[in-house]
């Protein structure tokens, strides 16, 4: 049996930055000769969570919420101001070299590859950097080149790749050394739908078939919908939500919609428990609260009064759910 000690353990984690006010503006004033006033930014302000091996977790939050800072703490780029943080049994910032040998990280807008080198040569270099055994290297390379469809641009210098190609190459590069844990920071940013889908399929494959634990930050909530069973939401340095995607929707999903195509045009086909938000000929859209009336109840009520030809229940999309959480601060 697999033992289930968490691979990531975080408690009361804090990262504060001291923001120095720019002194340029009033350079002549005497005040600048006194010690600088410093504002403290609590980028990460006491968060706690743990992640079990094999989980695929989406990490969400608006810009400046503390997402990137958390990822930088988890990958050892930053030292925490306070709290506990251990990943895979390491203190990431202290045991940097040993620790990073077992993780992979892709930061969407940056590449780890050598700009002027053909993709394949970057991989070869990584083999030496990570001391990857030839066997492992060949197996991974063969698997990934196929899954990520790298063959068409293996000999192209990295600087000439499209964004989508570069992302695929970077993903491959981050995984050649069989990391236990993969950090992805905005992996689909700037990609078209097809490219996004390919990246998502690959992430799923890694998680399902290789058991790689994946932590993913993204702006694109369809990434989260398609990939993650668990989401964490951070804002103002605090963890607002940590749980399943479905319960997030249940709790905060707001109103559902029922779209009905009637067999004939009715004037204001009102019904108890729902309100009409739109009427276009025979098509009427209702909105209703999930905790007031169920969809089936509503349909029964409607069909006893009107002749229905077709209907559809629409769940609020995750994007508006999350936006509501940020805007209305539902979780505080």
């Amino acid at each position: 049996m697999e033992n289930m000690t968490p691979i990531i353990h975080v408690s009361k984690l804090q990262k504060h930055f001291r923001l120095q006010r720019s002194r340029r503006r009033h350079w002549s004033s005497v005040r600048n000769l006194t010690p600088k006033e410093a504002a403290i930014i609590r980028a990460v302000d006491g968060i706690a969570f743990s992640v079990e091996p094999g989980e695929l977790v989406g990490y969400l939050g608006p810009n400046g919420a503390g997402k990137s800072t958390t990822i930088k703490l988890l990958t050892g780029l930053l030292v925490p101001t306070g709290g506990e943080l251990s990943v895979n049994g390491f203190l990431p910032w202290r045991d940097r070299r040993k620790y990073v040998a077992r993780i992979g990280a892709v930061f969407g807008q940056r590449t780890t590859l050598w700009w002027d080198l053909p993709v394949i040569e970057s991989f070869e270099l990584l083999k030496h950097i990570y001391n990857i055994p030839q066997e492992t290297y060949r197996r991974n390379f063969n698997d990934f080149r196929e899954l990520l469809e790298l063959d068409t641009f293996l000999d192209t210098p990295v600087r000439s790749l499209s964004l989508g190609q570069r992302m695929r190459a970077d993903l491959c590069a981050a995984l050649m050394h069989d990391p236990l844990l993969l950090f992805l920071d905005e992996p689909t940013i700037g990609l078209d739908v097809v490219a996004k889908e390919r990246i998502r399929q690959f992430i799923l494959y890694l998680n399902r078939n290789r058991g790689t634990t994946v932590i993913l930050t993204t702006h694109d909530l369809s990434d989260v919908e398609k990939l993650c069973e668990r989401v964490m939401i951070i804002d103002h340095g605090k963890l607002l939500y940590d749980g399943g995607l479905s319960s997030l929707r249940e709790k905060f999903g707001g109103k559902r919609e029922l779209v009905v195509d009637y067999a004939e045009v009715y004037q204001n086909p009102l019904i108890e428990g729902a309100e009409i938000t739109e009427q276009l000929g025979a098509r009427v859209t209702y909105q209703f609260e999930r905790n007031v009336v169920t969809a089936s109840e509503l349909i029964i009520r409607l069909s006893s009064h009107y002749r229905i030809r077709d209907l559809e229940v629409r769940e609020p999309d995750i994007e508006s759910t999350v936006r509501r959480i940020y805007e209305e601060r539902l979780l505080e």
Binding site: K72, L77, L117
Partner: protein
């Protein structure tokens, strides 16, 4: 250790290969670099045509100093390319340094192998040529001690400039952008050290004796090589301080560099 060195040479050879990929532009670059530095020297030649000597030093004697410094600076500029404060500041800003931190390899080694600007060869060649010509013109008495000490002085000069580069790169952890002050020491320092120190005003000379002891790097060794008297009455062993100062500055720079990395880990960008 051996593994690290192998990795270093592997990364460097890739740099070199990609720079040689376009042979013709590379050659032009090389010639241009050599030519620009040569122009600096030619202006010196014209000054000598007019005055014959500067404060008791002939053209050949100054050329000895000038060539040595230029060649050593060129070599440093090539080997320490990764630490060039301007380029390094960019690496920090654009997250390339973060990428290095994500690799299980010593950071200093990664910065060293992140860049290797081969066209600096132009300056090395120019400096070395001036140096060799100066030796041809000078009627030097070579002793065994001088022969042994010459490469020591050369590499101490490289280490000294390398230390300044590393200090300049480290400062960018705090300032994000590289600051001009650093250039005063690196480029200004080279310029100063290309000429005999006794031509400068006292305060400048004292600065380069007691604050940044550049005077021991090449001026005192030059007095020794050229059998010239010491105008400042330093102890007799002053000419032997070159490696101590050169490698001392480099060690201090590396210590500061480690402090800089620790600072970076606590603040990020």
């Amino acid at each position: 250790m051996i593994k690290s060195l192998l990795l270093y040479f592997r990364l460097i050879s890739i740099q070199i290969r990609s720079q040689l990929h376009y042979r013709f532009p590379f050659l032009l670059d090389l010639i241009a670099t050599g030519f620009i530095t040569l122009l600096g020297f030619l202006s010196l030649v014209f000054v000598f045509q007019r005055f014959g000597h500067i404060r008791g030093w002939t053209l050949a004697e100054v050329a000895f100093l000038y060539g040595l410094v230029d060649s050593a600076f060129g070599l440093m500029d090539m080997v320490f390319s990764g630490f060039d404060p301007q380029a390094f500041g960019r690496k920090v800003r654009f997250g390339q340094f973060d990428q290095m931190m994500l690799k299980p390899v010593n950071l200093t080694l990664q910065v060293f192998s992140s860049e290797f600007i081969l066209r600096r060869l132009g300056r090395i060649l120019e400096g070395t040529t001036i140096f060799i010509i100066s030796i041809g013109l000078l009627d030097m008495t070579w002793t065994f001690g001088k022969l042994v000490y010459l490469p020591v002085v050369y590499f101490s000069t490289v280490a000294f400039f390398g230390g300044l580069f590393i200090i300049g790169a480290t400062v960018t952890f705090w300032t994000i952008e590289s600051i001009e002050v650093v250039n005063i020491f690196t480029y200004g320092g080279t310029e100063m050290m290309s000429y005999p120190m006794h031509i400068y005003q006292d305060f400048l000379r004292r600065f380069f004796t007691y604050i940044i002891p550049a005077i021991f790097i090449n001026y005192y060794p030059a007095l020794y090589f050229l059998d010239k008297p010491d105008p400042f009455n330093m102890p007799e062993y002053a000419y032997l301080l070159s490696p101590i100062v050169g490698f001392g500055i480099l060690s201090i720079a590396l210590a500061f560099w480690r402090v800089g990395i620790r600072h970076y880990q606590s603040t990020g960008t």
